[in-house]
């Protein structure tokens, strides 16, 4: 029976001591321990979180870099293309200009040639006319040196006029 009968003295001391232990441990052990445990857990959590953030930031920077690189590449291509176009345009412009210039030159040359030709032809005509006149004069002088012949010719001319 002795084992299952709680002894008053021990109950008394146990109650007093346990209350004391509870109070002392609560104040001087559990409070600081739990507090620093919580703080440490929080700092670890924060560290993990910031690491995660840094990782995200890195990924973002990387993708940004990629984007910038891509943009730069596109820009370069665009510039190259534009340059090529400009080059071609300049060449074609120059070509067409040269062509028109050449056409103009050719045209004016042609016109000049034409006018020169005309002038030359006119001169030739005049020459021919004066020569013909000279020749005709000489012929006339030869054939109309007699009175009779002059008369005959005058008659012929008169006849011709009538016919007209």
């Amino acid at each position: 029976m002795g084992l299952v009968t709680p002894d008053f003295g021990l109950v008394f001391w146990m109650t007093v001591s346990f209350l004391l232990v509870l109070y002392i441990l609560k104040k001087y052990a559990w409070k600081p321990i739990l507090k620093s445990l919580k703080e440490r857990e929080k700092s670890i959590e924060d560290a993990l979180k910031s690491a995660e953030l840094a990782k995200d930031e890195m990924a973002r920077l990387k993708s940004d870099n990629e984007k910038i690189m891509q943009e730069a590449r596109a820009e370069r291509e665009k510039l190259l293309r534009e340059a090529r176009e400009v080059k071609e345009k300049i060449i074609s412009d120059a070509k067409s200009e040269a062509k028109t210039e050449a056409d103009k030159i050719i045209g004016s040359a042609k016109a000049q040639i034409e006018s020169e030709k005309l002038t030359a032809l006119n001169q030739i005509k005049e020459q021919v006319v004066s020569l013909s006149i000279d020749i005709a004069e000489k012929i006339m002088k030869d054939s109309l040196d007699s009175e009779k012949k002059q008369k005959e010719y005058a008659d012929k001319l008169l006849r011709d006029i009538d016919l007209n």
């Binding site: 029976m1 002795g2 084992l3 299952v4 009968t5 709680p6 002894d7 008053f8 003295g9 021990l10 109950v11 008394f12 001391w13 146990m14 109650t15 001591s17 346990f18 004391l20 232990v21 509870l22 002392i24 441990l25 609560k26 001087y28 052990a29 559990w30 409070k31 600081p32 321990i33 739990l34 620093s36 445990l37 703080e39 440490r40 700092s43």
Partner: protein
Amino acid sequence: MFHKSKIGFAIFLSFFTVLFNLSAFSQHETKVEEAEETFNPGEMIMEHVGDAYVWHIMTIGEHHIEIPLPVILYSKYSGFHVFMSSKFHHGYESYEGFKIAAGKENPLKGKIVETIEGKELRPYDISITKNTLSLFISIFFILWIFISTAKSYEKRKGKAPKGLQSFIEPLIIFIRDDVAKASIGEKKYMEYLPYLLTVFFFIFFNNLFGLIPIFPGGANLTGNIAVTMVLAAFTFVITTFSGNKAYWVHIFNTPGVPWWLKFPVPLMPLVEFMGIFIKPFVLMVRLFANILAGHIVALGFFSLIFIFGAAYGAAAGYGSSVLTVAFTVFLYMLELLVAFIQAYVFTLLSALYFGMATEEHH
């Protein structure tokens, strides 16, 4: 801080050394017929697991080496008495009208009684018994361990745990996360956590202390019903006082139960009401019985050596010792496990009761 605690420990030890020396010089020659008495395992075991007014350390030949402990009594007839238990001379003499009750059938056997008009009466007895002293010693160690751990938390702020911290921290986190938070809930667990941690480590350390066979361990503190009763009473009081409306409604008007179980015979309320007291009662008995049984079985195995030795001669005793020591070692391993499990179970159930008492009604 470390040095301070070392000095404190040295003072503590020297205090007990003085006590020990005092007792060693006050040895008494025991009577010859007692020394020749045959070995009685039942009596030996009961003496070991029970409480006493002296702390018996060992007996060499005919000399008992024991620490006498202070006796504090209050009697209605003769008032306060404070004296050392060595005044009883191992229970053979009475002092100031008090004696240690004897006799096989005496229900007060082993307790201090006062003989008034031929009757043996029990005075109010708050003597520092073996268990009380063991309680004080274990409390000293517990406070020392946890306060120094708390200090090292302050000293090594934000750093990884080291030394004693590494041993204690997983247990604290275990009690906090898997016992308190899981049973009581995120909102209120912090209120009960100090109690749960104290109860857990108190039981765990005292269980382990009880397994140390030599002084200052070896007392059967958590296997003493007075101790487990006080612990269970704390859980009971905290549960009852933190019970909210939903808790009491659940007890007196259990929801989801057919009405004829509540009226006209209030069967369910009665059962639930009894449950309030049965729960802590079971807590008390479980811890007490588990630890007591462990001590009894371990001592029983040891007794086998002497039983065989007495029955079949010394050779049989020596021969059987190999087997019994092996068994006892096995049992010790088991008891180490039990020491933790019982502390855990007590704490977990307390937490569950607190959780029930504070659960919000849905």
